[in-house]
């Protein structure tokens, strides 16, 4: 089953076409890698899919539903979660409060519900435990180390129970032990049925973790396939190395 499909997505900033007719299809249940040189449009692509940027042209379909130009919170409710390139948590909220921000649906009940709803708090603790940061639940997020913040960000995204998770450079700025930890987590979460799309520059991580790799250059995919095939593709080598 198709998880995410984009048709001819295009977005220009001034005269620069950051994303240029990108047509991409992700299958359910896979870990997809999205790689490409700096400025090839990966993050802009993420931002369009999650509704943070409106495309000039093209469509985004999630499970065959058109979600183009929907506000980000609707896209989140549809089941797409994301992390940010520079890890973003709510610095002056506690770890537990960070977890309880996620909203899964709109409505008056959600609005009036108590913050310390027991079921929700239990769910939050479950995810914090899986990240190994449950002992920090009362700390303010700004007091966490960068690596801990990365884990918190991922945990908070998972609170919304997304079926598709977009990770923007999960290995950026963290130590090797934590990279292994995040890789293991992504594999486990994938085994539980979640689909991933991962933008990453750490090639070892991408090639070791992903089932399918899409290569972007100048705002559109130029190659895709299993890691072993993509690695040898002459177009990819050219885009990366300029040979």
């Amino acid at each position: 089953m198709t998880s995410l499909r984009t048709d001819g997505l295009t977005k220009a900033f001034g005269g620069v076409r950051a994303v240029d007719g990108a047509t991409v299809e992700l299958l359910d249940g896979r870990i997809n890698g999205l790689i490409g040189p700096n400025g090839s449009g990966k993050t802009t692509f993420f931002n369009i899919v999650t509704g943070m940027i409106r495309p000039d042209a093209g469509r985004v379909l999630y499970r065959d539903r058109d979600i183009t130009r929907q506000p980000p919170h609707r896209i989140a409710h549809a089941g797409i979660g994301r992390t940010f390139q520079l890890c973003r948590v709510f610095p002056r909220l506690t770890v537990l409060e960070n977890m309880l921000v996620a909203v899964r649906r709109t409505g008056l009940r959600e609005l009036l519900a108590g913050l310390r709803d027991r079921g929700e708090v239990e769910r939050a603790r479950h995810w914090l435990r899986r990240m190994g940061i449950e002992h920090l639940e009362d700390a303010e997020a700004r007091d966490l180390s960068y690596g801990q913040q990365k884990l918190l960000e991922l945990a908070a995204v998972l609170m919304a129970e997304p079926d598709l998770v977009l990770l923007d450079e999960p290995a950026g700025g963290v130590n090797p032990a934590l990279i292994d930890r995040i890789t293991g987590l992504v594999r486990d979460l994938n085994a539980e049925g979640r689909t991933f799309l991962v933008v990453e520059h750490n090639m070892d991580m991408v090639m070791g973790m992903c089932d399918h790799v899409i290569v972007f250059d100048r705002g559109a995919p130029i190659a895709e396939g299993p890691p072993s095939v993509v690695r040898e593709d002459p177009r990819v080598l050219e885009a990366y190395l300029g040979v």
């Binding site: 943070m52 989140a76 921000v101 990365k150």
Partner: protein, 329 residues
């Protein structure tokens, strides 16, 4: 500690209830009523400012609209005051929701400017629309308690404002314990991030904006009934809004009682300056000076000094990566 923190609000409440009988003259009852009115408005302002970080200097508009709405319903349509007050507040809240849809689209300094524009516009309309509002010659509103003398009227309104304050505090407390409140805080911290976690930020902000207008409009309506005379230049004055901001910042926007504490300091100080310095504009300079000092030296307010959250040293200073060896075999 627990008992103390439970007993404290009760003690304050008892003091507040007894205040009109404890003070020697009716002037102090009047000053008390004014202070409680400001405390209610600042607490209401903080429903928006404290939670979302959107600083509105324009809440005078809701004060003035609430005042004129109540005054006009009573004088022009002969509506009983007890009906006019909530009806006017409901209308202002609905209007605030409409205005909010446009206003909260801009952030930071732009929002402040938009909120100031709101006061200027309502002021101009109230002054210009003479046939309805009486313009700058004012609107006279009959007293709801014609049987009471001046001092007793101050007393009655002291308790009405106190009830309003209790309502505003209760609302703030409820919001602070709700998922809605967590969403608003998330908006203050990082709006786009909140949106990506499924928080309908626009709807949340508009709701907070309207809710914070509600109690200010009620205060305005009570003010109209209390003073019995409305002048657009005063009730649509940006000073009323900036007072709410000053009180909230001084006391601490992150605390339930922050704006109340700020009002207890700023409102009596304002009255004192007015008496000591006379009906000049010098007391405004004093207010401005205090605002500058607060922003410079106590950006988180007085209460933040005493109720630091547990943080920093209590957290193990290790990265999650290092901790891995402990949690995973």
């Amino acid at each position: 500690m627990r008992i103390a923190s439970r007993a404290f609000p009760l003690l304050i409440a008892a003091l507040a209830l007894g205040y009109p009988w404890l003070v020697p003259n009716y002037y102090l009852v009047y000053a008390g009523a004014l202070t409680v009115m400001y405390a209610a408005m600042a607490t209401s302002w903080n429903l928006l400012g404290g939670f979302t970080g959107y600083v509105s200097l324009g809440h005078s508009a809701f004060f003035g609209l609430g005042a004129y709405g109540t005054g006009l319903l009573v004088t022009r349509l002969d509506v009983p005051w007890a009906v006019a007050l909530p009806v006017s507040a409901a209308l202002v809240t609905a209007l605030a929701a409409g205005v909010g849809v446009a206003a909260v689209r801009v952030r930071g300094a732009s929002f402040v400017i938009v909120s100031i524009a709101l006061v200027s516009m309502t002021n101009l309309v109230a002054q210009g629309w003479r046939s309805l509002t009486g313009g700058s010659s004012g609107l006279q509103v009959p007293s709801p308690f014609p049987g009471l003398h001046r001092g007793q009227t101050h007393m009655a309104f002291f308790y009405l404002f106190l009830a309003l304050l209790a309502l505003a505090l209760l609302t703030w407390w409820y919001v602070s314990r709700s998922r809605f409140g967590a969403g608003l805080l998330a908006i203050r911290e990082d709006e786009d991030k909140a949106e990506s976690l499924g928080v309908p930020t626009a709807a949340y902000k508009v709701t907070a904006f309207a809710l914070s207008a509600l109690f200010v409009a009620l205060a305005g309506g009570l003010y109209a009934l209390w003073f019995g005379s409305l002048d657009p230049i005063f009730v649509f004055s940006i000073l009323i809004g900036s007072n709410m901001v000053l009180m909230s910042l001084l006391g601490g926007v992150r605390h339930l009682y922050g704006p109340l504490l700020g009002a207890l300091i700023v409102a009596p100080a304002g009255e004192y300056f007015l008496i000591a310095l006379g009906e000049t504009q010098i007391h405004l300079t004093a207010t401005g000076l205090v605002l500058i000092l607060v922003v410079l030296f106590m950006p988180d307010g007085i209460l933040a000094r005493f109720t630091r959250r547990r943080a920093g040293p209590s957290i193990p200073d290790r990265s999650a990566g290092e901790r891995l060896h402990e949690v995973t075999p």
